[in-house]
């Protein structure tokens, strides 16, 4: 893998609009409840284009819910979500579909399509959704598999791969859509410990060599420190502290943050 991988920056007729500068994602007074339990309570925050933001905090504090709302897998009960100046929620279905094409997600459980080989897992959406030719999509998929170190596996089914390899395919699959925003939902939590490093190395590489905006939920604090421009500490549906990794990890202001970090570090 080389640092000058041209993959994400190459101009391409099928690429999504160039990354905007300034604010890309904005959540305003977003509330989400599951039954009587309020997971997010009038949450406000924004993410600038090209930045890498990591959400940390105890389980159940609503971090994953934020990613799922941005991916339109679940809807807020109140509030607004804006992406690249266009409203994602509330919004008509057609607008949601357009915005969604600029957002990609990697899941904790990989969620590769087990009925498709690795190559087709990656080419399916670029062909169907972006209208790439099969050749173009396969070319793109090969480059991405090279990037994640799996060039030799394009003809295998997902079940023939290790968890770490599957997750790297899932990263390649998300990148094949050339999203402006990449959502990473505890992408190493389901992996055997010895497979975690390979996946995180791939993500570090992507963070370094592309201008994709990354929003990340993780319990890997070293990884968070490495890639993040900003860390948000969540507790009980609120951001209780935000700042650079240096600030959050070295001199957290909140007692709750200190308590959480001493438990996970």
């Amino acid at each position: 893998m080389s640092a000058d991988t041209p993959l994400m920056k190459e101009p391409d007729a099928h690429a999504n609009p160039p990354a905007a500068t300034g604010e890309l994602i904005r959540l305003e007074k977003v509330t989400k409840r599951f039954g009587d339990h309020t997971v997010l309570d009038r949450l406000d925050f924004s993410v600038d284009a090209g930045k890498h933001v990591t959400l940390i905090g105890p389980s159940g504090s609503g971090k994953t819910t934020i990613l799922r709302m941005l991916m339109t897998l679940t809807k807020p009960d109140e509030g607004t979500i804006t992406v690249a100046g266009q409203q994602l929620y509330p919004a008509p279905e057609k607008q949601v579909r357009e915005i969604r094409k600029n957002i990609g997600m990697v899941f904790q459980q990989f969620n590769l399509f087990p009925n498709m080989k690795v190559l087709r897992n990656i080419t399916e959406a670029p062909v169907t959704v972006l209208g790439l030719s099969k050749d173009e999509a396969e070319q793109r998929a090969r480059e991405l598999l090279d990037l994640v170190g799996l060039s030799d596996h394009l003809d295998k089914y997902p079940t023939q791969l290790s968890g770490g390899q599957q997750q790297r395919v899932a990263i390649a699959r998300a990148l094949a859509m050339r999203p402006q925003v990449l959502l990473l939902d505890e992408v190493t939590s389901a992996l055997d410990p010895e497979l975690v490093a390979g996946v995180l190395d791939v993500l570090r590489d992507i963070a370094r060599t592309t201008d994709i905006t990354m929003l990340c939920v993780t319990h890997e604090m070293n990884f968070a420190r490495d890639i993040s421009d900003r860390i948000l500490m969540f507790d009980s549906g609120h951001v209780i502290e935000a700042g650079s990794p240096e600030k959050i990890f070295s001199e957290p202001e909140q007692a709750r943050t200190r308590e959480f970090l001493s438990a996970v570090l």
Binding site: R100, N111, L112, N115, T128, A174
Partner: protein
């Protein structure tokens, strides 16, 4: 009771005719039940209750009435409304439709068994609904339900003698006709009984093998 091999020999040409009709009814009935059952299952997933309610009612009605009654209805009542089909066509449609109300349940279970993460991945990749069904959900769902569908094919095989009631000469129809003409009941009925076993048993072995391969 005497066993007469010459009766077996005399019956065999009729047996082959009957076997062909049985297998035709089975093959076409299976195809109809697989296809229509899938349509029912998909219609039951549409957001509109103006689709789901009638489909649910119709299929419940078909499932809760006996196949024999449906055969008689299609064969004797439809012609009064000006719709006339051959006995075999009527039988194939009846058996296919009847079993489609069971295969729809099989498909439903198969679709439900596809992990929610597959739907979420399809959404995350912006795959349109139609493509999500065709390329992601159904291939996984159908793979899981092949053995269950196969069980219904075997059940259908054993229901084909009902077609005799609407004058179709399937295996049982041929055996009965032969028996009445020659006053020999044991031989033709034994032959078709053995034939049913020879078809069903290997079929169920095949299904078990399929199940081991497909359902993992």
């Amino acid at each position: 009771m005497n066993w007469d091999w010459s009766a077996v020999r005399d019956f065999m040409p009729h047996f082959w005719d009957g076997l062909l009709v049985t297998l035709q009814a089975l093959a076409l009935g299976s195809l109809i039940s697989f296809a229509v059952g899938l349509v029912w299952a998909l219609l039951m997933r549409t957001p509109s209750r103006w689709v789901r309610w009638p489909v649910g009612t119709i299929t419940e009605f078909i499932r809760d009435t006996p196949l024999l009654v449906q055969l008689f209805f299609l064969f004797y009542v439809l012609p009064e409304w000006g719709l006339t089909f051959s006995a075999l066509t009527t039988g194939v449609v009846a058996i296919g439709l009847h079993y489609s109300t069971y295969t729809m349940q099989v498909y439903r279970a198969g679709i439900d068994a596809v992990p929610v993460g597959q739907w979420e991945a399809a959404t995350a990749l912006s795959l349109p609904a139609r493509r999500t069904w065709a390329a992601v959900i159904l291939p996984q769902a159908i793979r899981r339900v092949v053995p269950a569908l196969g069980n219904y094919v075997i059940a259908m095989l054993k229901d084909t003698p009902m077609l005799m009631a609407i004058t179709v000469l399937d295996m049982l129809g041929e055996a009965r006709l032969f028996s009445q003409q020659h006053f020999q009941f044991t031989e033709p009925l034994t032959v078709i009984g053995v034939a049913f076993v020879l078809i069903s048993y290997p079929a169920s072995l095949l299904l078990r093998a399929l199940e081991r391969r497909l359902v993992r």
